[in-house]
């Protein structure tokens, strides 16, 4: 059997139920070859469940899926030859060293002992793990585990790679390294399906994004399309002279046609922008009216705002402490 589809993944109406709970409720996905596709959703949205069904790790209760044109339900063994899976929870053996793990997986994939050792060495080097080669995984840091996990998924040279929350729990520097690795994979022609809870991660990496919530796909598109569909970025202004706040509000309303949100105690004016270019118009209008400002910045919508707009409820992810400091690309305008 050979593969033949233009699409790396084509799934329609995927359903997974656990008892009477429907974790995935009719999800359609189409992922083109060579693309990075992001599945964005809060805790419990059904990201892992969807990925596991596509990776033959969970049975598909209803609907169908094809990987490079190969039916997942009918030909799981063939699909396993096409997909490299990096699970949400480290799928390497704790009691073995990094080298032993990679050699084990290499041998299972049919490499000779020599070839497996060579591939292991090569991968550990590319992932900056060569010093840890002989250490047991139980002594690895979270970031090292994730990298080893990804390395293990690449042993078979899979054309399609699934990454389930590749950077959750990593510090910003390690997250950056992981992003670089993923970009390199894509540059090499791999197709990547990744899940994440972070809009900025999807934004950084994904060509297209599907937003899922409670087992249902609520939106799909490029990150630009998503953000625009959600509406606006916000221009946050701070006035030098708080008493000018009414005058400032009038100027803003004249330029944008919308009333800004005011915080008079702080001299703050928050302007919703349909389009970030309008920020300049507002600033020029203020200059003409002789209103001076101390700070100005434009913020894109946060994941919370995207979710609120798309689903009518927030992400409910209390366990996301990074939300505030990762408040998505604040650009200084003035």
């Amino acid at each position: 059997m050979t593969t033949n589809s233009e699409l790396a993944v084509s799934a329609s109406g995927l359903v997974k139920t656990f008892g009477d709970f429907t974790a995935v409720d009719g999800i359609d996905l189409e992922i083109r070859r060579g693309e990075v596709f992001g599945v964005l959703g809060p805790n419990g949205a059904g990201k892992t469940t969807t990925l596991k069904m596509l990776a033959t790790l969970l049975s598909i209760d209803a609907g169908s899926a094809e990987i490079f044109g190969v039916d997942v339900k009918a030909y799981p063994h063939q699909v396993r030859q096409l997909v490299g899976v990096t699970g949400q929870y480290a799928s390497v053996d704790e009691n073995l060293t990094a080298t032993e793990n990679l050699v084990l997986f290499g041998r299972l994939l049919g490499m000779s002992g020599k070839a497996a050792r060579a591939a292991s060495e090569e991968l550990l080097e590319s992932f900056g793990l060569e010093e840890a080669a002989k250490r047991q995984i139980s002594k690895f840091s979270g970031g090292m585990r994730r990298r080893l996990d990804l390395a293990a998924s690449l042993l078979s040279r899979p054309p399609l790679i699934f990454l389930d929350e590749p950077t959750t729990g990593l510090d910003p520097r390690t997250r950056g390294q992981m992003w670089d690795t993923i970009r390199t994979l894509v540059a090499g022609g791999s197709t990547v399906l990744l899940t994440t809870q972070y809009l900025d991660e999807a934004d950084q990496l994904a060509d297209r994004i599907a937003v899922i919530d409670r087992g249902v796909k609520v939106a799909e598109g490029t990150s630009e399309q998503l953000k625009t569909s959600v509406g606006s970025s916000t221009l946050h202004l701070r006035l030098s002279d708080k008493s000018q706040i009414a005058a400032a509000a009038a100027v803003v309303e004249k330029v944008t046609g919308d009333r800004p949100v005011l915080t008079p105690e702080a001299g703050g004016v928050n302007v919703p922008l349909a389009d970030a270019d309008r920020a300049a118009d507002v600033l020029i209008g203020l200059r003409h009216a002789d209103i001076s400002i101390t700070t100005a910045n434009v913020q894109q919508p946060t994941l919370d705002e995207v979710f609120l707009a798309l689903t009518g409820h927030g992400t409910e992810s209390a366990e996301n402490p990074e939300q505030t400091d990762r408040n998505i690309h604040t650009e200084e305008v003035a």
């Binding site: 059997m1 033959t56 030859q81 699970g87 929870y89 480290a90």
Partner: protein
């Protein structure tokens, strides 16, 4: 890194329909090697096959010897072969709990996602366990010899009994492998395993002659696979004869594997 990974993406490659027999064997041996490395790093995995046979052999011989056979010396041919079967059974029981614990770890997700034979992750550790059964059988026989056991079957008979014990342990381990794939927790496997192990060991001629039990119990003793193994071991080690009991023991063990190995693979793949 780019150079390394660029060669990694080849979607249009021929796909194999299923693993060949040769691949299945090689994958099983690879998984056996993994189990072996883990075993060596967790020496407590050897407790049940070292301390236990040593302790039980000496304890049972001195406690029951006088009562059952008049003296310890004449009880040894009974108790050594009985303990051999018992140890094989207890040692194989650990397979179920270990498999269950292992399957709950992330690495099993990777095994499932790899294009490998479904039986390899189950059969590999079972192969590595041959070492455990070998240790248990050897220790039991050595302790017996030290206590004055003089097997009538000679060296050949003893070696045959030793080999049969190992084969029996391996075969019975498939019952527990299957339990490991169907039960939800390692604790559950352990509990159920005990409930299976105790009647199988004690409702057998392992420690006392069958004739001393009530009639209704004797019916169970007759069909107990452990009885088959014990009778066969006695014929081999104490008499040096390859009797029908030996044939039945081998058939019984093979039947256990023929039933429980496919069941295990089926329930393991269904759990996907």
């Amino acid at each position: 890194m780019a150079a390394l990974i660029s060669t990694y993406a080849v979607a249009d490659r021929p796909l194999r329909a299923h693993p060949s027999v040769g691949e299945t064997i090689s994958q099983t041996l690879t998984m056996a090697r993994r189990a072996y490395i883990k075993m060596m790093r967790n020496p407590e995995q050897f407790f049940d096959v070292t301390i236990q046979p040593l302790l039980f052999t000496a304890m049972f011989a001195y406690i029951f010897g006088g009562a059952i056979s008049g003296d310890v010396q004449s009880y040894l041919p009974t108790i050594i072969t009985g303990i051999l079967a018992q140890t094989a059974l207890t040692a194989s029981m650990a397979r179920g709990t270990q498999l269950r614990e292992d399957m709950d770890k992330g690495v099993f997700d990777r095994f499932k996602a790899l294009p490998i034979a479904r039986i390899a992750p189950l059969a590999g550790p079972a192969v590595a366990d041959l070492l455990r059964y070998g240790i248990a059988a050897t220790l039991t026989i050595v302790v017996g010899l030290l206590m004055g056991y003089r097997p009538g079957g000679g060296v050949g008979g003893v070696l045959a009994g030793w080999a049969l014990t190992i084969f029996a342990g391996w075969s019975l381990s498939w019952i527990f492998t299957w339990l490991g794939t169907v039960m939800k927790t390692a604790g559950g496997v352990q509990g159920l395993g005990m409930m299976i192990m105790f009647p199988l060991t004690f409702l057998s001629p392992a420690f006392v002659p069958k004739e001393t039990m009530p009639d209704w119990l004797q019916h169970f003793v007759d069909v107990n696979p452990v009885t088959l193994v014990i009778n066969a071991t006695r014929d081999l080690m104490n008499a040096g004869e390859v009797t029908m009991s030996v044939v039945w023991a081998l058939v019984g063990c093979a039947a256990v594997v023929a039933i429980f190995a496919p069941l295990s693979v089926w329930s393991y793949s269904k759990k996907l």
